[in-house]
Subunit: 760 residues, 2 copies
């Protein structure tokens, strides 16, 4: 096995002589990008938008330390930190790039000899089942991960189908084999997170069960069906909680070979006799409906024991998806950064239904997806900006289904709201705004969703009218969220205003002019929080006065979240011209943007801000957090578009790299990556819900964009060079583009988009 | 309202001039029988075999007191004790007559004025929401219960359909109305029993949710849909556990008017404005599948707000079921005892599926009942004796479905076992033996079940071969359960032997002669534990020797459970002749039986025995526990049948009465009652699985038994009189019965069974 890995490592390591990326695009993906420090990506195996993300977890830091929040848990949003010396095991669910977490379900760990059911610690791996590992003996590519577990000399290999994780473990000869199934393991774990776990040894090769948790998702259950390629010889479990079964289970020795295990906190183990191959294979299917659903998924997706076949099939899926944008780049690292960004963009939202279309809804009932594939993991405050617009460009069918998934969520919502941050049949209410409306408006504006617009409008209006939500009652009454009533009030006001503009666009298309007028009026709510004296958006109190205390360099307690007044205050995506005007006109606003990119944030303010490290900052501009993602493009509205071009290229060059720490902040379910994809192609959706893209400075040499409607958009860059960051001319199908925007519908017809570059 | 109750009380209280019971048989049912002391019945509303048992709970004693078992909880198996001064509220699930419990789901309590979410104590009802009540203002009949809640002057009325509880509360004028939904309440409750609870206020009249518990059923979830006849004006909840929602619910004030509540331990409340009727009606539907299932059940069964209609429909069902055996008795109390016994016999097993046939199976997956109604609550150690045989006589269709439900349980069992004591998709393993095989064998012998006999045999054989079960591995090896390896070893050996005989009868019908021989051989296992020296069945050790220490008067540690050697030692139901022979022949055995009925158990032994009070004892004979239920009939095999006749009448007269304490022991899901029904009709199934009934001494004057096959069996007693307990002649359709048995198939043809009585 190790030979194969080395062979593959050699292939990957080969310099690609042509910058054209050829057919086997997965070799341009480096799943380790973002696994170090703040990226919060995972290196394990998954298929595009797959329900299973089978990946190593390198530590099990508790959410709490001595009763309060343990900041170290933040590092483990995706379960993996590149600098860690040990692997705890391989679990089946992972978020990609989030700043909070919940998953890590069903950790499997192979060990040899002495059975240890405790994971042990990184400092003392011998104290538990975990193992040391080294990056030298680790390899990852789309839908394949392998590593040598040094403490046991076990080679672990992982691959997946959409709903099934496939493990292949190669043991030393004559090893005594333990497979540990740790149901206590989880990402963002803490005492009491497990509500219930249940395991049934159905026969000597099949085990089913579930794990029910109370975490970020308040009421979440994931079911599994696990099957081995050879009979279990012995098994057992240990219960770590104090629940007593009031049934007469005391008749049995439950700990060993008793086929029904249940409790809050249990760890099970299974022993096997291997043959001369020294291999043990495990297929591990998930379902969010039932154990029977997991068995159904298993049978439908991986009815064989051919690990290589499952790996190849998943990699073919990846090649298909990655070839939606085929690019020529200036060098190999750029290709890897690009395709890894595309890879990260295609990880979530994830498919969230069984093979027969059944899924658990927000109301905890089982639903049938009717005419669409149901998705979950909607990190909408992040992804409405560029990820869903990217899907509208190259994944229109999926984005249409995502819109339908959001509308189904609305139907099931007891609040009658579209998702805010939703995962696994739960609303976790993370972050602010109601940006589902932006995703829907964008899909409608771009012709991707057009099935039931009145229903979509109703859902958006209802969402934007739920008075219990996050200061919305005040916003409805006062036109802004007052800081003395609801924190982060300026951020909320600004985002509600934009979202309301998005709703107005839907109303216009539906022909509901009363709603259009209402929401257009609401869309100007930013006016209430703009302070013409300081020139900043600023927290206002319920008495109508701006709050005295105000530090535009700080985030904490300043009326903002994940951004300060310098960054967040530039947020009127639906009316940049008004933003320019509020800031004193084009020249003054351009100067303000210049200041933003050159002023230095002092250490105290860096400390005080959220989620920021020096890597993610240019001047005061924070690329690691999302509220600024459109800012570099705003120079277009000041008459100085070359500054957009320069900044965008600078950001692409300095904040994205082919390295484990190649992401300067959380990838946030692909938003950071989607920003890169758009920017590398030369344009960006400053205002989702409109048909317009703002022009930037492409980084690709050429690109073929499969628009998913049978059309191809070819992008060709003349005079592309690292120094030639400035755009002299843009041509779309022989028509020269005047101004600094492109229209989606023009692009969607396909054809040739040509940029002519220069070094000034 | 009170006037109506008084009126009904008067009707009920009227002496019935004719002993013939007429058409409105529900008036001969006194649901309070057994509610005092040991009967463990509940007085609330339910339909025959209904999934909802809506009944008052009079206390909430915790399962544990200072960390160990609280014996007082035993009194509350059915939630109600007649002597209690307060009612805590009305919950929707209750076992009838069990000696262990688990239920009490979804307690509803109406209160007025100050909201108190704590139940308070019986000594100090003001400290909580409970209320005083008095039996003078309480009324119960099949499918209707009402009581005056004195502390609030609220009249509470309850009725049900199969899956819906219907509450009607009449408040004082201008009352401030609180409806409490206590999700922490339960029968056999303790800290940590609630695994999870979930409540959604879907709109201003509909609330859904579920309660998931870890109790006697290890993994049990019941869902509900509750609807009010007027809008909720305000609502809220309090959480009593320490779980923190890791989602961003802190955005909300969750306590008030927040429509999604969840946690381990929560109590919710709802406020209403009433109109001039001062009435509030609640429909509360259950499902074991999902909240959507509960809503479906609600819509299908009670699509209206007519309390009287639901009450009448349920009472009509009761009249239909009770008329399966129409009797003439010597007096009104006898009629009430008889029909109440029939009522108690028809309470469980309960229907366990939604209106569309979906149900949660033992594997926790959702199944569809295909061609049968699925039942749960199988207290088989009790009910195989007389209850299921009674069903074979008058509920053949239901018993066929119960057999199918048991076979479905087997299909879903990871142990590949038929139910032992099963409830709500769980096996609780209570008591001993594998008496499903007896129920199946009896249904087959009597022609009730004949669909798939090979499958039935396979299920029985598999059940009887599961080595992990309760000493069965030793039994398979040694022919008996050794006391040093598994306690209650003699009881187990004797019951396994009988069960094996039952399996042999199925094997014979299937034509599997090898299985027949094997199980017939196993059926003689009682020989291993019979000690010819002491003349008792006696615990044997794994070395083949009887254990030295042995007290045939004691139960505890003597190799028996719920019976001592005097009682349990007489258990070879499948071969009474062999029992007689082992005991020295007819005369010696008759003398032994005489001793059994006249020897006095000293106080120390009464204390030391399980589940026994003086009321349930005649000499050493314990009627309150089941192992002796066939004993009075054994005189038939000694040539002294008149002693059977005398004892049986004595037991009917002294152990059953029309009074709250009218049951001398737990009714055990109807087994005690079914014993009475059979005995009152003049015969008893000493050996279920055979076609034979043993003759006794009828207590009815006459009876019409609807056999469910279009045939009627008329029973007529000549010279019936309290003193005429002896049977001179028995005639079946003009044929005089010789011997002391009746054949089921002869009875099943219908016709006339005539007993001629005398006083000697």
């Amino acid at each position: 096995m190790k030979k194969l890995i080395l062979f593959l490592l050699i292939i990957i390591g080969l310099p690609v002589t042509s910058q054209n990326t050829g057919n086997d695009l997965i070799h341009y993906v480096n799943p380790f990008i973002g696994t170090q420090r703040m990226g919060h990506t995972f290196p394990g195996a998954t298929v595009p938008f797959g329900m299973v993300q089978l990946s190593p977890d390198t530590d099990t830091v508790s959410y709490e330390l001595n009763g309060s929040y343990n900041p170290r848990v933040y590092e483990y949003c995706a379960g993996y930190q590149y600098d860690d010396p040990t692997i705890v095991g391989f679990s089946h669910t992972h978020f990609s790039g989030t700043g909070h977490s919940d998953l890590g379900d069903f950790l499997i760990m192979p060990t040899t000899e002495k059975l240890q059911l405790n994971p042990g610690t990184a400092n003392n791996p011998e104290s538990g089942y975990r193992s040391r590992f080294s990056h030298e003996n680790e390899f990852a590519e789309p839908n394949y991960y392998s590593v040598l577990l040094e403490d046991y000399s076990i080679t672990a290999e992982l691959t997946t189908s959409a709903r099934v994780g496939f493990h292949r473990y190669t043991f030393p000869e004559n090893a005594e084999v333990n497979i540990i199934l740790d149901l206590m393991h989880g990402i963002y774990n803490y005492d009491g997170k497990n509500v219930w776990t249940f395991v049934r040894v159905e026969n000597d090769t099949l085990v089913t069960g579930y794990r029910q948790t109370n975490g970020w998702a308040r009421t979440r259950t994931v079911y599994f069906a696990m099957t081995f390629d050879r009979p279990i010889t012995k098994y057992g479990h240990k219960k770590y909680d104090k629940t007593v079964y009031r049934g007469f289970y005391r008749k049995f020795n439950e700990g060993e070979n008793f086929p029904e295990m249940a409790g809050h906190d249990i760890r099970a183990y299974f022993n096997f006799d291997l043959d001369e191959t020294c291999e043990l294979k495990i297929k591990f299917a998930l379902s969010n409906v039932s154990a029977a659903g997991a068995s159904k998924n298993l049978a439908a997706e991986v009815p064989h024991w051919d690990f290589g076949k499952t790996k190849r099939e998943g990699q073919q899926l990846w090649n298909n998806e990655l070839s939606k944008i085929r690019v020529e780049m200036l060098d190999n690292d750029d290709s890897t950064v690009f395709y890894t960004a595309l890879y990260h963009s295609f990880l979530s939202p994830i498919i969230y239904e069984d093979v027969d279309g059944q899924y658990r809804g927000l109301d905890q009932n089982i639903h049938q997806s009717d005419g669409f594939t149901n998705y979950t993991v909607f990190s909408l405050w992040d992804t409405y900006r560029a990820l869903h617009p990217l899907f509208n460009l190259v994944q229109p069918c999926r984005n249409r289904d995502m819109v339908k998934s959001m509308l189904a969520h609305y139907d099931q919502s007891v609040h009658k709201m579209l998702p805010v941050w939703s995962h696994y049949a739960n609303e976790n209410w993370c972050m602010i705004g109601y940006h589902s409306v932006s995703v829907i408006a964008d899909a409608i504006a771009k012709g991707i969703y057009n099935e039931n617009l009145p229903k979509a409008l109703e859902a958006c209006k209802s969402t934007a009218s739920y008075p219990l939500y996050d200061g919305l009652n005040y916003y409805l009454k006062l036109g802004y969220v007052p800081e003395d009533k609801s924190s982060n009030s300026v951020s909320k006001t600004l985002e509600y205003a934009y979202d309301d503009w998005a709703i107005a666009q839907i109303a216009l298309r539906v022909g509901d002019l009363s709603a259009y007028d209402n929401f257009m009026q609401r869309s100007e709510s930013y006016r209430h929080v703009f302070d013409p004296v300081s020139g900043f958006m600023r927290p206002k109190l319920s008495d109508g006065n701006f709050r005295e205390a105000f530090d535009p360099l700080d985030t904490h307690g300043q009326g903002f979240i994940e951004g300060n007044a310098w960054n967040y205050g530039l947020y009127i995506p639906h009316d940049p011209e008004k933003l320019v005007k509020l800031n004193g006109g084009k020249a003054a606003f351009a100067a303000k943007l210049d200041s933003l990119f050159v002023l230095e944030l002092d250490d105290a303010h860096i400390e005080a801000n959220e989620d920021i490290t020096r890597d993610g900052i240019i001047g005061l501009y924070v690329h690691g957090n999302e509220p600024g993602h459109h800012i570099p493009y705003l120079y277009n509205w000041t008459g100085q578009p070359w500054k957009t071009q320069e900044r965008v290229r600078m950001i692409m060059n300095t904040m994205y790299a082919n390295a484990p720490d190649g992401l300067c902040g959380n990838d946030d379910c692909g938003q950071m990556s989607a920003w890169y994809i758009f920017s590398a192609l030369g344009f960006y959706p400053v205002c989702p819900g409109s048909e317009e893209y703002a022009l930037g400075s492409p980084k690709v040499v050429s690109a073929e964009v499969d628009l998913g409607n049978g059309k191809i958009l070819s992008i060709k860059i003349e005079n592309q060079h690292r120094e030639n960051v400035f755009v002299r001319e843009v041509w779309l199908n022989e028509r020269r583009i005047e101004g600094y925007t492109l229209n989606h519908h023009d692009l969607a017809k396909g054809g040739m988009l040509k940029f002519v570059m220069s070094n000034r």
